[in-house]
């Protein structure tokens, strides 16, 4: 698609900044759809929290609030690093120097690794919960919650929402880790890495969004005890 007379931007755009504007705007629209996607589940959460507040408190007490806190911290650090990497790229674009490349790449690598640490903690928590019989379904350990409505099954709703919402978030994390790892590798290898600036900005925006979703999920599940 890229025309030979105009190597810095693609055909329908007038200028590189026009193309950048379109990429960022497009991603923002995409993030709006993501908000509604998670929003549907948050509506479900609100409805059942309202109906069974005690079940949600009980459920929340079984989660490890410190692990959740550590996960939050890990994500926020990653967000900071990717923001710095993106800033470096923009500066590199201005000065036409390539010295920024190495520093940006290792920040991206650390961000991706922090994402993996986050998932590790999360999946360890899943493992523990499933071991305790708290995964929803026929084997759910409802005898632990017999004083709750529907002979304990109201607590099952808490765990159902927990696994659905954090699971959906984890899926977004996996995509994000692949994207951040991918753009890091691409910048490392590219002959003109400054031309990957738009892609990096868009990926960084996505990564920040996935972090913000967690900023909502953490209090909704871990802090309502």
């Amino acid at each position: 698609m890229s025309s030979t007379s105009n190597p810095t931007h693609l055909i329908p755009y007038d200028s590189p900044s026009h193309q950048r504007h379109a990429a960022i705007f497009g991603l923002w629209v995409f993030l709006v759809t993501e908000i509604l996607f998670f929003g549907g589940m948050i509506v479900g959460y609100v409805v059942y929290h309202y109906e069974y507040p005690e079940a949600f408190r009980e459920g929340s007490r079984t989660l490890n609030v410190w692990a959740g806190g550590a996960m939050t911290a890990v994500l926020l650090l990653g967000s900071l690093l990717i923001a710095v990497a993106e800033h470096l790229t923009e500066e590199g674009d201005r000065d036409n120097s390539q010295s920024w490349r190495g520093t940006a790449v290792w920040r991206l690598a650390v961000t991706a690794c922090l994402g993996v640490v986050f998932l590790g903690l999360e999946f360890y928590e899943y493992h523990e919960l499933i071991g305790e019989g708290l995964f929803p379904g026929s084997q759910f350990a409802r005898q632990r919650f017999t004083d709750l409505p529907y002979s304990g099954r109201a607590a099952e709703l808490f765990f159902l929402m927990f696994f659905c919402m954090t699971g959906l978030h984890a899926f977004h994390m996996i995509v994000g880790i692949l994207l951040v790892g991918g753009i890091g590798t691409a910048i490392q290898r590219a002959r003109q890495p400054e031309r990957l600036g738009n892609t990096l900005t868009v990926i960084a925006l996505y990564w920040h969004f996935v972090d913000i979703v967690w900023i909502f999920l953490y209090p909704l599940f871990y802090l309502v005890r």
Partner: protein, 426 residues
């Protein structure tokens, strides 16, 4: 297409027994069929809707030609914009809802199962939060097409351009606030019902703004009753009937009476078939010379437009009466007294079918045997008519600059020839 393959595949291997709405707990607990597979197909189609809407929104914001300001946009672009907003805002909610149904079926939790604490009404709320706006996804582009056709064949600028543009956005916005009118008898709170009833009636305002503006565009125009115009006029009439019965249905008392009867079926089809399909056919006939470079037979075009209009009314008008008299929908048997209306309806549907098959024939025929179309066979305004028919891959040799408003139609002389093929002058 992948999504379509899933849903078509489901129909072939046995279908789903949930009804099209997938209401829980039928779909989540009791259905014994291919619900998850069907939901997967719908989920994939949802992705394509979202991507399409996103593409349109970004393009309309950032890729307009120089001089093409927002208030010089053709109305079809405005309605596409409104449609795209609905697609990106509503579709994700349906996707996540179907996801929850799938989770419930696979893992056996009880999100929507009242027996273990879930709330089946939650499903209906989430479902209609998408599925009501979805009908506006269908009708808005049709309104855009009609807004293109009417000025062209009345040879007058569109009356009240700004109002027509904004009423499209208003329909899109209000569309998000009326989903509860599908749930008047579901057991939702009576206050919610009152509010949804009121908000649903509000939709009539922007819809009427459009109808009145199209009519005002016709006023003192030089009207050419070519095929696209016949469809557009059909749209205006049928959409008005569909819209007015919509207001009746928005009032709770009347809705209780005709709920789940043929009245609903008739109302829905007056909007979707009388409205959207008429506009679609009008649009196909309007842009056919542009899309394919071929001129179809005007005589056959007019005949089939007439057949479609008559067949449609014969098929669906009796259903208003049937519904009002109490004939429920989705039953294969009915009381004897209703038979005459059912016969009329069947006859109308057969005529309608002929009306739909005819264009298939003469449009395909025109591809091979029709006269070649000039750049602008209708003498219409708008950028698409300045390129050759059919347009080349890169639509414009150089980026055009727009200097005037849309629908800058000169008053025509009676003898103005439109709809004729002309030798290509390049």
């Amino acid at each position: 297409m992948t999504g379509g393959l899933f849903t078509l595949g489901v129909i072939i291997i046995g279908g789903v027994d949930t009804g099209w709405t997938f209401y829980t707990p039928y779909s989540s607990t009791y259905a014994n069929t291919w619900v998850i597979l069907a939901a997967t197909g719908i989920f994939i189609n949802g992705f394509s809707s979202i991507a399409t809407g996103l593409n349109f929104i970004v393009s309309i914001h950032l890729l307009r030609a120089p001089g093409l300001t927002w208030f010089r946009l053709p109305m079809f672009v405005w309605t596409t914009y409104a449609t795209s907003l609905i697609m990106v805002l509503a579709t994700p909610v349906l996707a996540v809802t179907l996801g929850l149904v799938a989770v419930e079926r696979i893992f056996g939790g009880g999100i929507f199962d009242p027996a273990i604490g879930g709330d089946p009404l939650l499903f209906q709320h989430l479902f209609w939060f998408y599925s009501h706006p979805a009908v506006y996804i269908m009708i808005l582009p049709g309104m855009g097409v009609v807004s293109e056709i009417v000025p062209c064949f009345a040879r007058k600028p569109l009356f009240g351009y700004g109002f027509v543009a904004m009423s499209g956005l208003a329909i899109a916005a209000l569309g998000f606030l009326v989903w509860g009118h599908h749930m008047f008898v579901s057991g939702q709170s009576i206050y919610a019902g009152l509010l949804f009833s009121f908000l649903s009636m509000l939709v009539a305002i922007p819809s009427a703004v459009k109808v009145f503006n199209w009519t005002a565009t016709l006023y003192k125009g030089t009207i050419f009753l070519k095929t696209p115009m016949l469809y557009a006029m059909g749209f205006i009439g049928l959409f008005t009937i569909g819209g007015l019965t919509g207001i009746s249905l928005a009032s709770i008392g009347f809705d209780m009476h005709v709920h789940d009867t043929y009245f609903i079926v008739a109302h829905f089809h007056y909007i979707m078939v009388g409205g959207m399909v008429m506009a679609f056919l009008g649009g196909v006939h309007f842009w056919w010379p542009k899309m394919t470079g071929a001129i179809y037979s005007e005589w056959w075009g007019r005949v089939s437009a007439l057949i479609v209009f008559l067949g449609f009314n014969l098929a669906f008008f009796p259903q208003f009466i049937l519904g009002y008299l109490g004939n429920p929908r989705r039953y294969h048997a009915y009381a004897e007294g209703f038979q005459v209306f059912h016969i009329m309806s069947t006859l109308g549907a057969s005529i309608l079918g002929i009306g739909y098959l005819l264009p298939l024939g003469y449009l395909l025929w025109s591809l091979k045997y029709g006269r070649r179309a000039s750049r602008n066979p209708w003498q219409a305004t708008g950028l698409e008519w300045t390129t050759p028919s059919p347009p080349p891959t890169h639509n414009f040799g150089e980026t055009p600059t727009v200097t005037g408003p849309a629908y800058d139609y000169p008053p025509a002389h009676r003898e103005l020839v439109i709809g004729e093929g002309e030798p290509e002058k390049n």
